[in-house]
């Protein structure tokens, strides 16, 4: 078990290392930080001074070492554009993104599971089939278009929901939440729905497939034979056994939701990490760009690690076989 854990951890670290190298190289490709910071009109001497201070003329390997040092110390350095420590910036923005992604996850799982169960239980029902088919549209339409359509409908036409921002937030220590104010909740609806829509179809299809299998098993037939109501058979007996793969997939989905949130945050001016990242891109704010990539990488790696460990906990076979054997 410990060997398995270590090998997974090693994989995670390797991925993070590769991400850090890529993020570092990206900083050298996207533009000249000095030109971005000082603009076009700066004097030659100011430019040279800044190059020295940012150690831009040192050898690549050495600069990577400085960069890694900053990363490992957890400081991430200062943002050029915002002129603030990146740690503070991220801490300020992470709650918004996490709340958005979790709400979207909750929505997509709730809707998807409901839809999937119904589709498995009533495969002939026309309405259910129609909804299932149209859920594909949710996957096909890019999230930013869904977002703009929602704004057009609920902000412009009906005037019910705010088109931008996070509303008023309440602070608990470093965490700021929009879940406790009316304006915060109203602001959350459209971004989370447009983010969730793309994932509903996935969850629904997965649930349906699993459900179909489970519904054929003996214990369901016995449950029916006992005269239990259909609803109880579907939702409390059958669903329970289909949940495990759904939970696994949801975990991985959370990573995608955080990644897609970049687009949605831009559309709704949602003050999260994604918006910060896009602003950083526009300003060639290299430290901030690479910090974002590292944090997102860390997020993905941790989710995968947790999922792997859960697998191991659930499936004893995984605990015995080593990684090498499985690969071979």
């Amino acid at each position: 078990m410990i060997a398995f854990l270590l090998s997974r951890l090693g994989h995670g670290l390797l991925v993070l290392f590769v991400v850090s190298v890529l993020a570092f190289l990206l900083g050298n490709v996207v533009g000249d930080p000095v030109a971005s910071i000082l603009g076009l009109e700066a004097a030659e001497s100011d430019r040279a001074a800044l190059r020295v201070r940012l150690s831009l003329d040192d050898p690549l390997v050495l600069r990577y070492a400085y960069y890694l040092g900053d990363l490992l110390s957890g400081r991430f350095g200062n943002s050029y554009g915002a002129q603030r420590p990146i740690v503070d910036l991220l801490a300020e923005r992470i709650p918004a993104t996490v709340e958005l992604a979790l709400t979207a996850l909750l929505l997509s799982v709730a809707l998807g599971v409901l839809l999937g169960v119904l589709a498995a239980a009533y495969p002939q029902n026309r309405l259910v089939r129609l909804v299932m088919t149209s859920s594909v549209i949710g996957v096909s339409v890019p999230t930013f278009i869904t977002g703009i359509l929602l704004i057009g409908c609920f902000s412009l036409l009906l005037g019910w929901l705010p088109s931008f921002g996070r509303g008023d937030v309440v602070r608990f220590g470093f965490w700021s939440t929009g879940l406790l104010t009316a304006s915060g909740l109203k602001s959350l609806i459209m971004p989370s729905v447009s983010l969730a829509l793309g994932q509903v179809a996935l969850v629904a299809r997965l649930t349906r497939a699993e459900m179909m299998g489970v519904l054929r098993s003996d214990y369901i037939r016995f449950a029916r034979a006992r005269g239990l109501p259909e609803r109880s058979v579907h939702f409390s007996h059958a669903l329970r056994n289909t949940l495990i793969p759904i939970i696994t997939v949801s975990g991985i989905q959370l990573g995608y939701l955080v990644a897609f949130a970049v687009v949605i945050e831009q559309v709704f001016q949602w003050p999260g990490m994604g918006l910060l990242f896009l602003q950083a891109l526009a300003q060639t704010d290299v430290p901030l760009i690479s910090a974002f990539l590292i944090v997102t990488g860390l997020f993905f790696v941790s989710i995968n690690l947790v999922v792997d460990l859960l697998y191991a906990a659930a499936d004893p076979r995984l605990r015995i076989k080593s990684v090498a054997e499985r690969a071979g």
Partner: protein, 532 residues
């Protein structure tokens, strides 16, 4: 149930506190957030236009972009290199401290040290308070337009800066903690800063002790950046915002045709132009029609330059691509710049046949192939402008291959080179005076003299340089006008660049808001009148 009730009570009390929107509030939005509240740390124009509400400039800037009395009530030259500013009395900072001549001298020295203001204030040697009400500014060279430059010099309290450890402009890119001035401000302006939430929201309230007139009726104003254009327009049309400063061209008609909304425009202090290599013996990325690199620089031939000026139809670009929201420009200066000469502002006529003849005369009857470097974003519709230019040049046989680049890449190409022989760029004099355009953009690049710093195409003309040299040390207004005229005429005749247009700044607003747009994009909150 009890718990539910408690949560419900908390929620409803929050709703009630939120619902109370104070009267006479302006909610407005633009594309980008202010980068900082430090008036000296950045020259980003969005930041400057917001900072101007809180900090007064030494010399005021009228809505017509003319210098007017501000913190200084009067100014006069003392000898060749000294300007004396008389400081207004009875002005107080937002923290209650009275403004002194020392504060002014401190602010000049602080802002002049900021790297981003080196181009504007680098020539200042020293600023000192010579009495309680006057400050002398000593520059290294004679500087006739120093007062005009001072419209961007913001006055900060020296004592406050010292107390908060921000006597120096925060170092960009340095590792450390957040500077106090990033979200705090203490100026003398018509509005006080209530809160700056970086990247999210900036809130102002009226300064009841403002020294000047306050014609509007605002009590409060909230600025929100919204990067996505459709969302910004939706926020305006759903009445979540009262005014937006960057109305996308494609939405102008939509906003205008909506009842209770109006659109207002003003020409921006920016000239879009195509610059051509004026120095290299062999032009970069330029080939003959067979694909062999040219052994010459066609752009050094005046006839080629004139051919380009007559081949590109600026009027058509304004009508079709800018949808009429721009003004054709014929000289290096445009309306709203100091030293602008309206009667000279006549563009080269569009004449493809003449252009083709000139090209043949210059030895390129078949035309040639060159690369048009094109910045994407930053300016309005640049990619479309470049494509249109390419197809207009195709009519005279010149194949311009458009190379679009994101701004950081484009900026790197210029700053670390400049390595471009043909490009589109927006030109803006730093202080809004044509003299800046002459010195930085048009004069021959010369590090020792500090000229031509942003002359990216390396245009060079000895006669023009002589005019510039004389202009920068001439104080007499009549003589200066003659020099402006001379310089602009040379620039046009020698085709310093193919001048295209001056874009409009377009604001969309509800009819309950009354405010005229300004060329510097600043919403002057003291002038805003809102009706319920």
């Amino acid at each position: 149930m009890k718990r539910f009730l408690r949560i419900a009570t908390i929620c409803s009390s929050l709703v009630l506190t939120v619902a109370a929107v104070p009267a006479n509030t302006l909610r407005y939005g633009g594309t980008t957030p202010p980068l900082t509240m430090d008036p000296h740390a950045t020259n980003d124009f969005v930041t400057a236009s917001l900072v101007r509400q809180v900090y007064d400039s030494l010399v005021g800037l009228s809505n017509a972009m003319e210098p007017e009395p501000g913190i200084a009530t009067a100014w006069e030259p003392v000898g060749e290199t000294i300007w004396r500013f008389t400081i207004r009395s009875g002005v107080t900072f937002h923290d209650g401290a009275p403004l002194t001549a020392q504060d002014v001298a401190f602010s000049i020295m602080r802002q002049k040290e900021a790297p981003l203001y080196r181009a504007l204030y680098g020539g200042i040697k020293e600023a000192k308070a010579v009495s309680d009400t006057s400050v002398e500014v000593v520059s290294q060279q004679p500087d006739p337009i120093l007062p005009r430059k001072m419209v961007r010099l913001f006055v900060m309290s020296a004592k406050w800066a010292r107390e908060n450890n921000v006597e120096k402009v925060p170092d960009l890119g340095a590792v450390g903690t957040e500077a106090h001035t990033l979200r705090h401000a203490n100026g003398t302006g018509p509005m006080r800063l209530v809160a700056q939430e970086p990247g999210t929201r900036t809130t102002f309230e009226k300064n009841p002790k403002f020294w000047g007139s306050f014609p509007g009726n605002l009590e409060r104003a909230i600025y929100t950046p919204i990067a996505s254009a459709p969302t910004r327009v939706s926020a305006l049309l759903s009445k979540e915002l009262d005014l937006i400063t960057d109305l996308p061209l494609q939405d102008v008609e939509r906003v205008r045709s909506t009842p209770d909304y109006l659109v207002a425009e003003v020409p921006q202090q920016l000239v879009m132009q195509l610059e051509m290599d004026g120095t290299r013996d062999v032009a970069l990325d330029t080939f003959d029609k067979a694909g062999q690199p040219l052994k010459s620089n066609p752009f050094k031939d005046l006839r080629v330059r004139q051919a380009f000026a007559q081949a590109v139809d600026a009027k058509l670009i304004v009508d079709r691509i800018m949808r009429g929201h721009a003004m054709v420009v014929g000289t290096a200066s445009a309306a709203g710049f100091g030293g602008y000469q309206k009667d000279l502002d006549i563009r080269w006529p569009t004449d493809a046949a003449k252009a083709k003849a000139l090209l043949a005369e210059a030895g390129y009857p078949e035309g040639f192939v060159t690369q048009l470097n094109c910045p994407l974003a930053r300016y309005v519709n640049t990619e479309e402008i470049c494509r249109a230019t390419a197809s207009m040049l195709a009519r005279i046989g010149v194949e311009a291959r458009v190379k679009g680049m994101p701004w950081p890449e484009f900026a790197r190409m210029l700053v670390n080179g400049p390595s471009s022989s043909f490009h589109l760029i927006g030109a803006a004099g730093n202080s809004g005076d044509t003299q800046d355009t002459f010195v930085s953009l048009m004069a021959t690049r010369n590090k020792e003299k500090g000229t031509g710093g942003t002359n990216w195409a390396l245009w060079s003309n000895a006669e023009f340089d002589a005019v510039t040299d004389e202009l920068v040390r001439t104080f007499d207004p009549a003589k200066r006008t003659q020099l402006y005229r001379r310089g602009l005429t040379i620039g046009k005749e020698q085709v310093h660049a193919v001048y295209l247009h001056q874009p409009m700044l377009t604001w969309g607003m509800r009819k309950t808001v009354a405010i005229a747009p300004r060329a510097d994009s600043a919403v002057m909150l003291k002038d805003v009148v809102v009706k319920p």
